[in-house]
Structures are given as C-alpha cells and as structure tokens.
C-alpha cells in the first residue's frame, strides 16, 4: 500500500459519504446524540436537574462547580465521563450501522436507516464487546499516563544531572497530554479498526472478528495507521483552540462552543476513518 492508495482511499471515502447518505446518516445521528447529551449536561448544575446532580458534583469536585463560571468549566470533564458509556452503548453500534449501510450500498441492496439499524442490531453484543476491549485499553493507558503525570509533577529537573533531558520529559508529559492522548487514540482506533467491519460485514462473532482484524492489520499496518492518522490531524486545531480557551478565562461560554466544534470534527473524523477502513475490508473480502 503506497501513499497514493492512502490518499485515494480517503478521497473515495469523501465521495462515498457525500453521495450515499445512508452511510452518512448514522454519523449525523451520533453527532446529534452527543450534542443533545452536551445540552443536557449544560443544564445539570441548574434547576431542576441540580436537585439530583448537586450532591454528586459537590462531593466529587466541590460546591463552586455548581455555580457560574465553574459550572461551564466542568462541562468538558462531565462530557468526557459520559463519552465512555456513550461510546460503548451507542456510538460503536451506530458506527456498525454505518459500516452495514456501506456494505449494503456496495451490494446495491436497500440501505434505509431503519432497516439497516434493525439488521445491525443482531450484532449488538459483539460490537459492544469489541468496543469494550478498545475502551479498556484506553482506560489502562489513561491510568498509566496518570501515573506518569504524577511522577512528572514531583520530578525536579534541578536534582542530579541531565537537567535538559529531565525538563523536556517533564514538559512533554505535562504540556503534551492532549496530543499524546490523541496519538494514542489514533493507535487504538487503528488497532481495533477492522473489528466492527469484520462483525457486521464479515458476519463474525467477536473473537473470530478480532483474529480477522489483526490479520488485516498485519497485512496493511502503514495504510491502516495512516488512514487513521491523517484525518485525525483535523482535530489538532481544535485542541490548540481548546488549550487557548483554558488559558483565557474571559469568556467561559467559549468552551461550550469549542466542545460543540470538537464533537462535530471528531464525528467527521470517525466517519472518514471507519468508512475508509470498512471500504478496505470490503475490498479485501471481495478480493479473497
């Protein structure tokens, strides 16, 4: 797989997404659900939702996070907590629906959203387990990274020798956290990228799907990684903006706008990645 095929694959994906709405719809649904969840979270510190959530937020983060502007500052954190279960129960399934729609479009079969949704539901448990595995790896990485951050916080570059090296390591761990997390999420997406296509298109159960996933991954590791990496670069400007918004506290509402933007960009990235990987899976399957 050369550079040409990577960019060709991404270009074809764009065409597929814009010319075949059944593939795009599940991603639009994902974005809508996430935006709706964000809207609900926005109202969590306010009446009447605060009746239920105030004790939780106060206990976890402190009373000030129920009040302006800290209630806005805590939104990204709350949204991040919701993202886990949302990904496991809803997002991964809807990605499966999109992959299924792609296969149906490819086979010239009817691909109405409701029909594809129903058809994909029979794979729900396997998709869920596949998503859970990926999620657990991410969780394990987060724990390790948390430990690294704690170590970096207590690290004193002035102690002992190799001052510059220690300073660089410390700054990379602390300041580079969002980028390292992004890089890791690219790696995980690439690592488990063919699991959902294998379950939905290949009609495989979770463990055979995992085997199939790693087989394809081993046959085209660079292609898979690059197909995941290149679209994800779109998220870097969002990260830069979010970093800037944290520094400036003059407009707390800006963080909500950036969160909305990051949801849209992330879903668009997922749409490109999973459609390209599913197309590649289909090609492989048809080839064999």
């Amino acid at each position: 797989m050369g550079n040409k095929s990577i960019f060709q694959g991404l270009k074809n994906t764009q065409l597929t997404l814009f010319s075949h709405s059944p593939v795009l719809i599940p991603f639009i649904v994902i974005a809508c659900i996430q935006l709706f969840v964000l809207e609900l979270i926005y109202f969590v510190p306010r009446y009447p939702l605060n009746i239920f959530f105030e004790p939780i937020i106060t206990k976890l983060w402190g009373e000030q996070f129920m009040h302006y502007p800290y209630n806005i500052a805590i939104l990204p954190k709350l949204f991040q907590y919701i993202q886990g279960p949302l990904f496991l129960f809803v997002t991964s399934f809807l990605i499966g629906v999109a992959v299924n729609a792609l296969a149906k479009v490819n086979n010239d079969e009817p691909a109405k959203f409701g029909l594809v949704l129903k058809d994909t539901f029979k794979h729900y448990i396997h998709i869920f387990i596949g998503a859970l595995l990926a999620f657990l790896v991410v969780l394990a990485f987060s724990e390790v990274y948390e430990l690294l951050i704690r170590k970096a916080l207590t690290m004193d570059p002035n102690r002992g020798d190799k001052y510059l090296l220690k300073l660089i390591v410390k700054m990379t761990i602390l300041e580079g956290a969002p980028y390292i997390n992004l890089l890791f999420s690219i790696f995980i997406t690439a690592l488990f990228g063919y699991v959902i296509p294998a379950i939905v298109i290949g009609n495989l159960k979770i463990f055979p799907a995992l085997v199939e996933n790693f087989k394809i991954l081993c046959s085209a590791p660079i292609f898979t990684f690059m197909v995941t990496f290149i679209p994800t670069l779109l998220y870097v400007p969002v990260l830069i903006l979010r970093g800037g918004a944290q520094v400036s506290s003059t407009a707390p509402e800006m963080s909500i706008l950036l969160l909305v933007l990051s949801i849209i960009v992330m879903v668009a990235i997922d749409a490109v990645i999973y459609t390209t990987l599913a197309t590649y899976y289909l090609m492989k399957k048809e080839g064999s």
């Binding site: 639009i28 809508c32 935006l35 709706f36 809207e39 306010r46 009446y47 302006y68 502007p69």
Partner: protein, 336 residues
C-alpha cells in the same frame, strides 16, 4: 433524514426552552451577570490609579442595577460587599459603609454575609482610623457571631487594641471580659469545636494575665476532653505540647504534670494516633530531667531549645503515623 434533523432540532430547542424557563429566577442568571460585573471590578482593583473617575461611577451603577434586578438571589449580598469594596478603592468610605449596612439590614438570615459585611465595615473603619468605630464593630461581631472563627478571636483583638494603646486598666478589663466570654462558650459547647477553640483562646488570656495555673488547666482540658474531636493536626498538637511543657516546667520546675497528663491521655485513649508521640514526649521529658536539663534553675530559653529539638525530631514521625492510621485532621472550621 430531513425528518430526523427537524425532530432533533425541535427536541433540542424544546429542552433548551424548557430548562431555561424552569431555571429562571433560580440564581443562575444572577451569577452570570454578577460574574461579568466582577470581572470589571477586578480590572479596576488591579490598577485603581489608572482608572478614570467615570469608570467607578459606571461600575457602581452596574452594581446598583444588579442588586435592584436580583434582590433575592443568593449572590446579591456578595454583590453588595464587592460594590462596597469598589467604593473603598474609590476612597468613598461613607458610601462603602452605607452599602455594607444594607447587607446587615436586608439579609438578617444570611449569617455568612452578615459577618463578612461586618468585617468589611471594620476594615473601612480601620482605614478611616475610626478607633471607636472599630471597637464597636468588634463588639457587634462578639455579640452576633460569637461562635464564628472571627467571633471567637475578637475578644482577644479588643484586649490587643488596648495593649497597643498602653491602656492597661482597659486591657485588663478586656481580658477579664474575654475570660468570662470564653468560659461561657466552653460551658455551652462542651465536646464541640467551639468549646475546643474557646479553650485555646482562654489559655492565651490566662498567659497574658500570667495566670499560669489557668493556662495549664485550659491546655489540659483541650487535650483530655477533646481527644477525639476532628480538630487536631500535628502542628496543633505540637503547639500545645510546647506551650504546656514550657509553662509547666518553667513555672512549676517539674515534669510531673506533663507526664501525668500525657499518660492519662494514653490511658483514656489506648488506640489514639497520638499515643506513640506522647510516649516519646514522656520519655524525652524524663531524659531531660535525668540529664539535668530540667532543674529548679531551668530557664525558658534552655527549655524551649530542648522542647523544639524534640518537636522537630518527632514532627515527621507524627505525620507519618497519622497518615498510616488515616487519622482525619482537617483544619479548623468553626460554626457559622
């Protein structure tokens, strides 16, 4: 797809309108507006000299409009207080005091705001060098908020005021009043944080009056009667031990009192996290006696040196021990 998008938009807008309507007048809007005004206040407070006169007037107007628009919001008493601070920066002290008096008259139920406003009044009076006004504010704090952190300390501040003025008779009377005040608080709040802190201040009053027995008995009571209260920190224990040892050994020329008290603490509280430390203190005191440090001629300096050396050595061990036993020792927060 169109249907879905329209449905999603209707749902989102519906939820937004519903929650916005339900949350109306519940304080969120007031918080948001006040935050914006306070940001302007912070800018002025950071560089008052560079602030033109009309900026003060405009911001003052904003606070006035705010308190009129949200008279019952939780944040409104706070808005009055910051508005008063703005007037202090503008050096319009009388206006500042009149704004603060509004907090006192309009929000009698809000004890925290009342106390904060009263303290701000005291600050303004201090700037104005209105000494009688300050003393009057002290008395208002003692009368209205006797159990607050500031209220507990205030009787001592009154005495300190007369001490600085070298008005010995009034100072003595202030200490007598403080002792009566603290004794009443101790009697009414036995086993509670207020009682504990009142004992600490009572000891200070006795020390100021050179009533060593009174001071020692206050320290003994705080250690023995409040062993389990969640007020102790390693620092507060060491402070008490240092004071008690120093007073006892210097004025009684003996170690028997501290050793008996610490031993009684250990016997009464066999599982207490402080026991290993108290055992060590007993041992060290006995060693100091055996080494001839504690003699009838002992001086405060030599004793303090020995006690400090002991404290320094034990401080780390004490903290470690507390950490291991998960002995919760939150800093003091008194009622109100």
């Amino acid at each position: 797809m169109k249907k879905f998008i329209i449905g999603f938009l209707v749902l989102s807008i519906g939820v937004f309108v519903l929650f916005t309507f339900l949350g109306k007048d519940k304080g969120h809007d007031a918080e948001k507006v006040l935050w914006g005004i306070n940001q302007e206040f912070n800018t002025i407070a950071n560089d008052p000299a560079a602030t033109p006169e009309n900026a003060f007037v405009e911001l003052s107007k904003k606070y006035e409009n705010f308190v009129q628009r949200f008279p019952d919001a939780d944040v409104t008493p706070g808005a009055y207080i910051i508005w008063a601070r703005l007037m202090v920066i503008k050096e319009d002290y009388d206006r500042a005091k009149s704004i603060l008096e509004k907090v006192l008259s309009k929000y009698p139920e809000n004890k925290t705001a009342q106390l904060e406003a009263l303290l701000e009044v005291g600050k303004v009076q201090t700037i104005q060098k209105d000494e009688l006004g300050v003393l009057d504010t002290y008395q208002r704090v003692i009368r209205n908020f006797p159990k607050s952190e500031v209220g507990l300390k205030t009787p001592l501040l009154v005495a300190q005021y007369y001490l600085e003025k070298k008005q010995n008779n009034l100072m003595e009377k202030a200490f007598d009043d403080a002792i009566t005040h603290y004794q009443a608080l101790i009697a009414d709040n036995k086993g509670e944080k207020v009682g504990f802190y009142a004992l600490q201040y009572l000891a200070v009053c006795h020390i100021a009056q050179k009533n060593w027995d009174g001071a020692l008995s206050a320290y003994e009571a705080s250690l023995l009667d409040y062993a389990d209260l969640n007020v102790w920190t390693p620092q507060s224990l060491l402070k008490l031990l240092r004071a008690y040892n120093t007073i006892y050994v210097t004025h009684k020329k003996s170690i028997d009192g501290p050793v008996d008290v610490y031993q009684k603490f250990i016997d009464d509280n066999p599982d207490h996290a402080f026991n290993p430390i108290l055992e060590r203190v007993i041992k060290t005191l006995q060693e100091l006696k055996a080494d001839g440090v504690i003699t009838p001629d002992v001086t405060v300096q030599s004793l303090e040196k020995a006690v400090n050396a002991m404290a320094q050595e034990t401080e780390e061990k004490l903290e470690k021990k507390i950490e291991q036993q998960d002995f919760k020792s939150t800093p003091a927060t008194v009622e109100d």
